[in-house]
């Protein structure tokens, strides 16, 4: 809904002071998205994919931008390789390059470390935290990895069957529910649901 892919059944959505989906194009020019559940065309090289998306986002000086982001995310050596031949860790980093092409003010990241080994996941997290701090970027981050959520987030929202059941910084949620950490809160939530359904 925040990206305009699903129409809301009620209420209004305002992003960067503008109404979605009425001002969809203006909003989407200032945000970006990455998910392991979508992909860049595998038969194009990384560079070709990034050039196409640079045009779609109207990126000025896209060659320089791709070069700079390639260096930043450590994918410069992959630019002329076919996207379909990359490892999942490399694809995750290329997806992040795509996500930063238009200098977004808001970034929607759907489980960006889901398919990664622990070392690659840690590298991606570190990169994201640095970008968040350097650019003053707002990141909407979905993850089932509670340690990751705790490390990255200043505000955490738990959605359960479409309803917000907890909202705040990690310490506040943990304190309110009397749990040791977010992981324990998450497991308790999942168990309570299972018991109710039984």
């Amino acid at each position: 809904m925040l990206l305009g892919l699903i129409a809301p059944t009620g209420g209004t959505i305002r992003i960067l002071g503008q109404e979605m989906p009425r001002r969809r194009e203006a909003i989407l020019a200032r945000v970006n998205f990455s998910s392991p559940y979508v992909a860049l065309p595998h038969d194009l090289t990384v560079r070709e994919n990034l050039v196409v998306f640079s045009h779609l986002y109207n990126v000025a000086e896209h060659r320089r931008k791709i070069r700079d982001l390639g260096e930043l995310f450590g994918v410069s050596h992959l630019l002329d390789r076919r996207t379909g031949r990359l490892s999942s860790g490399e694809i995750a980093r290329v997806n992040l390059v795509k996500a930063f092409l238009n200098d977004p003010q808001i970034l929607f990241l759907d489980e960006p470390t889901a398919a990664l080994d622990p070392e690659a996941a840690d590298a991606v997290r570190t990169l994201l935290m640095r970008q968040r701090d350097e650019r003053g970027l707002t990141i909407f981050y979905t993850s089932h990895n509670m340690r990751e959520v705790e490390r990255l987030s200043t505000r955490i929202i738990f959605l359960h069957h479409g309803r917000i059941i907890a909202d705040g910084p990690a310490e506040q949620i943990v304190r309110e529910y009397g749990k040791a950490d977010l992981e324990e809160f998450f497991v308790a939530l999942a168990r309570s649901e299972r018991e109710v359904s039984q």
Partner: protein, 254 residues
Amino acid sequence: MNLRQLFVLRRSFARVTDLFYWPLLDLFFFGFLSVYLGRREGAPMIAGLLLSALILWDIFFRVQQGISVSFLMELWTRNFVNLFVTPVTVTEFLVAMMVWGVVKILITATLLTTLALLLYGFNLFTLGLSLVPFVIGLIIFGWAVGTVITAIILRYGQAAETLAWSLAFLFQPFGAVFFPLSVYPQWLVGVLLLMPLPHIFEGMRAVLAGQPLPLHHLGWAFLLDAIYLLVAWAFFGYMFTLARQRGLLLKAQE
């Protein structure tokens, strides 16, 4: 969007096959068939009739495919969601696919026309300037059919992808493509004339027979084209809205 298609064309054997292999097979088949029939029946016109019909049919079919297969490619590569979270509008997306359809036929039709002249001595340009409105009429109908197919795929997902290759062929036996309207039973002719194709191909045959360009056929073709294209766009808009309401844009690539 079209840059992406050009990049794919450089790298995808399947897309090159679409562009050259099948049209060339058609050309060789109909070319040799017309040579054989021309000798046997003593009707030299037959090569012109069959090859003009083939090239013009290919224009319609490739334009339609330019739209629906380009759309399917985004689903197959799971790139669809990436595209629809960029500032690109649905209209821009649709127009880009329509333009790509035209680019494709410019390539294919140039090849077919040149080979038809070299191999079978048939010059499509004997149709003269009247070729232009025929081609435009076919492009518009190709856009309309391609847009409808895309809208159906949007709603029903990849289960409906076979339409991208099959639906256009429904118009081949009933579009008076390779034979005149007089072949059909009288009761059917009235129904068939509700499509632009019989008007265009009847017009083509009239010009090849040395008659003046039949303006009434041309007028009907353009009127019907305009109606079908507007209906196709409205249908696509409706399906897109429905897909957004039901969350189908996210599921389409699954």
